[in-house]
């Protein structure tokens, strides 16, 4: 909690977002709202099988249907090398990517794209899909991560060579990773108690309300324009360029407003298909996923199967942790096993740790990022077992966390030694919070849990143009998912010394601003914010130079203060300060337009920690869990726009509550998804939740001019364990598998009752 905010005029204030009016009046253009003249419509044929060899595809009948303009299959995409290339989130395997956007030798999950059609109307395109004959040889499939690792499991990729582990013969294990610190054998010998448990989490979808949508238009000279909803227009450009073998300069991607992403829109599905269909048909092509397609073929994040073992002394000091995280990747490798391992016990100063992780392919859609990818899964295990230790030792669960808390100078199990971090502060606030001290009623329980995320920097470019009337335009390339235009404008206003409403931020297309990495990893306010501040400082430097020219003094003799150029000291001369608008108004005669610019690969992200408190009431008759009260405390570094910081925390917590209580994929015995809609895939609705009290802690990151760490990822890390711990506190029943939905919890309660009766 900082009162330092007051040293700023704009940073830390709650202004109306620049894109707000468009979004409350229906004017804002989201992915599917965009149309162009002469556009035709594309649809995708998807595999009805979880695992099948594609023996042949006959498109001749579909091609002869009136109104059909183009049909594509995997034959229309050149094959790609499996060599990893840097682009997008981590290293990209384009051999996998081209197979994910369009099945090649095999269909690997229910909903896997096998062909796409563009026709004059969507109805004709759909009719054409039914005329495409695909000859499948159906193979045995595997959905569950533990099943996929067993000997004799159906193998998705016969040629897959796992990294980090040697396995004879074909396997579904794509990767094995290990992290260790100290000596766990010694650590367990020192322990007074040792607990070992297994946990399981379901794969869950990001659940953005806006389905994927794109319009692509390729002209006869090979120039492509793509309008789509994405977290990263530059990634879309890179992926389409590679998949279609086009020069990057021939592709211009304009991001629409984006109706939620949470990581799920950092990849491509429709964009390369629409671009190729447009190329082939010579017409602009619009494609929109249905909700069913979103569930069957996009996202989700991994599900996991974990074991955790923990040792502690009687006084609560944790002496050792061992963990294993088996994460399902979907049909292609890429489960966030590394981050899962690295985040699991990162909030704690534990001397002896060994954690490993597996990245395992199964017949499901390939996972995409989802808020702090991997961390919520391993934290469910780690934060549940720490709760058991606390209970076993009779120590308050926040006190045991505080006793073991990581602080400045703690070496994390994944290697680095933390500099200034705010984890302990989140615990101190939680311990004294009115919520934590309030009484509970019958069938009610309270749980706490903590979480960690690295936060990231990455490439950001920004331009700050000073207009002739003294206003400014801030151009960045980071799609605004949750109010980042407002935070960028606040930082620009603060730096320039002009009013917030004189700064207009825009999100530019790939041809109008330098490269920007995706909106993700909690990086935009930190990294793009830093680029905007540096661009504003560049503009300020130019403004000072202009004042120096007018005054005939050295540029170094001019300082910028509160929106004015002023002489650095009385020695410089007696000059009236020149305002930004006055300098902007005479820019033409002092050297021309004033444009600040900055582009860099931003380093120095500051880690984020959170502690959540959750109260539940369990209905013993139905197993239904009601969330009574929820408090989320998080170190954000600095809240540039506190309302949108709170919003990120509240939204992440709500998603975590959905993951904890209801969200799951239901695959039938044939490997077909039985719940591809919001009625049966149940995300939290307004009546499921209480108010979510977001408590902002500000331990500034000294690598950012205003102290920003980042906020969006970590709020989804603690909720699953917080809810499970609260249920245990209410009922005495420890739920070790998600979701803790009414039928599952009721079964567990019944089992506990039977056991109790028998004793």
């Amino acid at each position: 909690m900082s009162s330092e905010n007051r040293k700023y005029k704009w940073v830390g204030t709650r202004q109306i977002r620049p894109d707000g009016h468009d979004k409350v009046t229906g004017r804002a253009k989201f992915g599917s709202d965009f149309s162009v003249s002469g556009m035709i419509h594309g649809r995708v044929l998807r595999s009805p099988h979880a695992h099948a060899i594609i023996k042949s595809i006959d498109t001749s009948d579909a091609e002869s249907l009136n109104g059909v303009k183009a049909i594509i299959t995997s034959k229309d995409f050149k094959d790609q090398s499996p060599e990893l290339k840097a682009a997008g989130e981590g290293m990209i395997n384009y051999k996998d990517m081209t197979r994910n956007i369009m099945a090649r030798e095999k269909a690997l999950y229910d909903g896997h794209a096998v062909a796409a059609v563009a026709a004059t109307t969507a109805e004709i395109a759909e009719a054409a899909l039914e005329l495409i004959k695909v000859d499948y040889e159906v193979l045995p499939h595997v959905i569950d991560v533990d099943e996929a690792m067993k000997d004799g499991a159906p193998i998705l990729h016969e040629d897959m060579v796992p990294s980090g582990i040697t396995i004879d013969g074909p396997t579904n294990i794509a990767k094995f990773v290990e992290f260790s610190l100290g000596d766990t054998k010694k650590g367990f010998e020192e322990a007074d108690i040792i607990i070992e448990r297994s946990y399981k989490t379901e794969a869950v979808h990001q659940g953005y309300i806006e389905p994927h949508a794109v319009v692509a238009s390729v002209t006869e000279d090979g120039q492509a324009q793509i309008w789509c909803c994405t977290q990263g227009q530059f990634q879309v450009r890179a992926f389409v360029a590679q998949l279609l073998g086009m020069p990057t300069s021939s592709i211009r991607v304009t991001p629409s407003e984006i109706g939620g992403g949470f990581g799920g829109k950092t990849v491509v599905y429709l964009e390369p298909l629409a671009t190729l269909l447009s190329k082939k048909s010579g017409k602009p092509v619009k494609m929109i996923m249905t909700r069913e397609e979103v569930f069957r073929a996009s996202g989700p994040t991994s599900g996991g199967s974990m074991t955790y073992k923990i040792g502690a002394k009687k006084d609560g000091k944790i002496t050792a942790v061992e963990g294993s995280n088996k994460l399902l990747a979907g049909a292609f490798s890429g489960a966030p096993a590394g981050p899962a391992c690295m985040c699991a016990v990162a909030p704690y100063d534990i001397k002896n740790v060994y954690i490993n992780g597996y990245d395992v392919v199964v017949n499901r859609p390939k996972v995409a990022a989802y808020r702090a990818p991997g961390a919520p899964i391993s934290a469910f295990g780690a934060e549940s077992i720490i709760d058991e230790v606390a209970k076993e030792l009779g120590i308050d669960p926040l006190t045991i966390r505080k006793l073991n808390a990581a602080k400045k100078g703690t070496q994390a199990a994944y290697g680095p030694t933390f500099r200034e971090i705010g984890y302990e502060q989140t615990l101190d606030i939680a311990i004294e919070h009115d919520h934590y001290l309030s009484p509970l009623g019958p069938n009610q329980g309270r749980g706490v849990a903590s979480g960690f995320w690295f936060n990231i920097g990455g490439e950001s470019s920004a331009t700050v143009n000073i207009n002739e009337d003294g206003t400014a335009v801030v151009i960045s390339g980071s799609p605004d998912i949750g109010g980042s235009r407002a935070s960028l404008a606040l930082m620009a206003a603060e730096t320039l010394g002009i009013d917030y409403d004189k700064v207009r931020p825009i999100v530019a297309d790939t041809a109008s601003v330098g490269y920007n990495f995706v909106t993700g990893g909690s990086r935009v306010t930190f990294a793009t914010g830093l680029a905007v501040v540096e661009a504003a400082k560049d503009a300020v430097r130019q403004l000072c130079e202009r004042a120096a020219k007018i005054w005939e003094v050295d540029a170094e003799a001019v300082i910028w203060d509160d929106g004015h150029a002023k002489p650095a000291s009385s020695n410089v001369g007696d000059f009236e300060p020149l305002s930004l608008s006055s300098l902007a108004g005479q820019a033409n005669k002092t050297g021309g337009p004033i444009c600040g610019h900055n582009a860099q690969n931003v380093q120095g992200a500051g880690p984020a920690f959170a502690t959540h408190i959750c109260d539940v009431e369990v209905d013993p008759e139905t197993g239904n869990v009601t969330i009574l009260r929820y408090t989320a405390i998080q170190d954000v570094g600095r809240a540039i726009h506190p309302s949108y910081v709170e919003g990120q925390i509240q939204g992440g917590a709500a998603q975590g509550i959905g993951w904890a209580l209801n969200e799951e994929y239901i695959y039938n015995s044939k490997g077909k998804l039985d719940n591809p809609g919001f009625l049966d895939y149940r995300i939290p609705v307004a009546s499921d939740l209480p108010m979510i009290d977001a408590v902002i802690v500000e331990v500034p990151n000294d690598r950012h001019p205003y102290g920003v760490r980042g906020v969006g990822e970590v709020p989804i890390v603690p909720p699953m364990a917080a809810v499970a711990n609260a249920i245990e506190n209410a009922t005495g029943v420890r739920m070790s598998a998600l979701p803790m939905s009414p039928p599952r919890l009721l079964a567990a309660l019944d089992q506990a009752n039977v056991k109790e009766a028998a004793e």
Binding site: E178, I456, Q603
Partner: protein, 83 residues
């Protein structure tokens, strides 16, 4: 001497299990070159972006141009993305 820490996976793949060592370099470019001589391939993984580095607790998306202090501590990490 700069202290280098490797995760288990990385040390198994590149250094035959050596997970901690010291090296005399004053920036990351020298580190990449020297590592490739001692443990072929390890330096390149930093250079091509497969791995990222933390220097004294800060994780770098790309540390190629960073200077190192004589007492710097470096950790090799998998690349971090996010939602």
């Amino acid at each position: 001497m700069v202290r280098v820490l490797l995760t288990d996976s990385i040390s198994k793949s590149y250094t035959g299990g050596v997970s901690e060592f010291e090296i005399f370099v004053s920036n990351v470019r020298q580190l990449i070159r020297q590592l490739d001589e001692i443990y072929p391939g390890l330096g390149s993984e930093i250079d091509n972006g497969t791995l990222s580095l933390s220097i004294d607790g800060d994780i770098y998306q790309d540390a190629f141009l960073e200077d190192l202090q004589p007492d710097s501590e470096i950790t090799f990490l998998p690349k971090i993305g996010g939602g």
